[in-house]
Symmetry: C2
Subunit: 336 residues, 2 copies
DNA sequence: CTGAAAGCGCTAACAA
DNA sequence: TTGTTAGCGCTTTCAG
């Protein structure tokens, strides 16, 4: 299985390798006649560029790296899909890595991507603090934009959703549905999404006069298991609130499932909301009211920022783009 | 942002680049003293190998490519997680690609992986027929093992689950639960999983004397939407069967959801089963009885086959490894 | 045990 | 417009 090289194409077309390179890459002057001969020869031989040789020469790979906290979380996979779609239009490849919610793994992946000379990195950081060193390091070496979450103390581009606005939408809706007390089930405050959503929750609840028992703010992780466990705890410890605001759809799915097994009626006894609008949110029982993240927009902006960063030599001021989310009303809440 | 090269390490250690290479890669004789000096210099300078240069020289990348039909399908993402886990133990990286259920995209990804000199490819093919050319081509260039599904007419290693055995488990269980008529909701017969599951279904149903109305074999795609649509069709066209066997969990989740909205009691009126045992199967209402695929085993075997294939020069006989699945009984069926 | 030198496949000066 | 040449960073003969 021999790999055809540019030299063989050159020989067959009767020109030099430089000319072949110019003809095939389309930059550099080539006469129409020679161009034709070269393309012909390349086609005959079944020539394909060797991206590795090209990368070594150019230190560019036309590849973007992406690192997400967990490929098992449907929100991130759909974000990946959006990003890949945008990149494809630019003829770039995506190199996807899973950090397995572990800053150490994440650091390895970032280093490896940088070593592989990807043209830029799109990262949704695993941890708001522990990810800092690796992120700063990677950002110092190549263009990097953070997605959805960001690491405190880093100074890179970021694009995500306005969590505070989202919480406003959610709480206003719950309030309209009659909620006067509320609980919050989220993840440990180890990432920005979690923090922003919780603080947005507290703020709007206060403004609306919705009571939040500190004991009913439960922080675990972004998973259905945690949602189930947290609801069990709420049931055990006291009277249920009118509404339970969850930091993401996985948690909310766990909560509604636990409500079913505990005989708690959703939304009649307690309203429940999610966050992200993953596909499965529709399928819960009841279907989840949630906040939709404009993934395609997020992906587009991220790629745009990356492209801009690779072109500008001067590190221009960094951008923080917070997109406005949309409330998706379904059966797990009462207001229309 | 300058990248440290082997030459700089050599200069600092007062040796040649060849010696540095030998010391750092650990092959080739190096005196203890020199070895220490080199490592010291490398550490001081923060040297990291350039994987691109190494790949160009060695035509090996320590990277395995993986192509799945859809990264949005949780079954495939969990398979990816398993594979990555196994590879990590061997110090290899995974390059993941999404074929978006499109043989044309898949072909591009395969070609691109081959061009990038990955050491091998793990593929779950999108289409049983249309994927053939690209798969054969890729398999001719480097080690390739198919996972879960396979393309007819190709001759590569394969590892997956014994679909026929799985259908036996499912139908025996449904039969024990009293089912005497059954429907099948699957995807178009464009991939082997689909075909095998359907034929396994028919065979065991016949053996057990379970009646299958040809009109109740509905083929669409692996998605919740299709599950919902198919159930609506079953409801519209006639008396429901005692059981609905779905070709994967996504379909089953759609079916149970539609059952709720159509007021069909699961499992009292109709039993429903899924396939794959994705995380969300537990969360449906009712929780899904399904068949668990031993993902970790599948991943392990796949990587093992790949490694074997890269080492043997002679293309040994190809292996087809069908692992035995396990029935997971939950609330969507009646037998215990 | 170590160094010199060639070369993986490609592209960008520089010359012609 | 085209060819010659050097070199990206690394590994591996081949001499010493």
């Amino acid at each position: 299985m021999h790999r055809v090289t540019i030299a063989e194409v050159a020989a067959r077309a009767g020109v030099s390798t430089a000319t072949v390179s110019r003809a095939l890459s389309g930059r550099g002057p080539v006469s129409a006649e020679v161009d034709r001969r070269v393309r012909r020869a390349a086609a005959d031989l079944g020539y394909e560029v060797n991206p590795i040789a090209r990368a070594l020469r150019n230190s560019r790979t036309d590849t973007v790296g992406m690192v997400v906290p967990s490929i098992g979380n449907p929100f991130f996979t759909s974000l990946v899909e959006s990003v890949e779609h945008v990149l494809e239009r630019q003829g770039k490849q995506l190199f996807l890595c899973d950090a397995r919610s572990d800053p150490a793994v994440e650091a390895k992946r970032l280093a490896s991507l940088a070593a592989r000379n990807v043209d830029g990195i799109i990262l949704s950081p695993t941890h708001g603090v522990d990810s800092a060193a690796a992120v700063a390091d990677a950002a110092g070496r190549l263009p990097l934009v953070q997605l959805d979450r960001f690491v405190s103390g880093t100074n890179t581009d970021w694009v995500g959703v306005d969590d505070t606005a989202a919480m406003r939408l959610i709480l206003d809706h719950l309030h309209a549905g009659g909620a006067r007390t509320a609980a919050f089930i989220g993840s440990q405050q180890t990432n920005s999404s979690s923090e922003q959503r919780l603080s947005g929750f507290h703020r709007r609840a206060a403004e609306l006069g919705i009571l939040v028992d500190p004991a009913s703010v439960l922080l675990g992780e972004f998973s259905t298991d945690w949602g189930e466990a947290a609801l069990a705890r709420l049931v055990a410890t006291g009277p249920l609130p009118d509404a339970i605001v969850c930091a993401d759809d996985l948690i909310a799915l766990g909560v509604t499932r636990a409500c079913r097994s505990h005989g708690v009626d959703v939304p009649a006894r307690v309203q429940v909301t999610g966050f992200d609008n993953i596909d499965f949110a529709r399928l819960g029982e009841p279907a989840l009211t949630t906040v939709d993240q404009p993934r395609d927009r997020i992906a587009e902006e991220a790629v745009r920022l990356l492209t801009a960063a690779s072109q500008a030599d001067t590190r221009a001021s960094t951008a923080h783009i917070a997109l406005v989310p949309t409330l998706i009303v379904r059966a797990s809440t009462t207001a229309s």
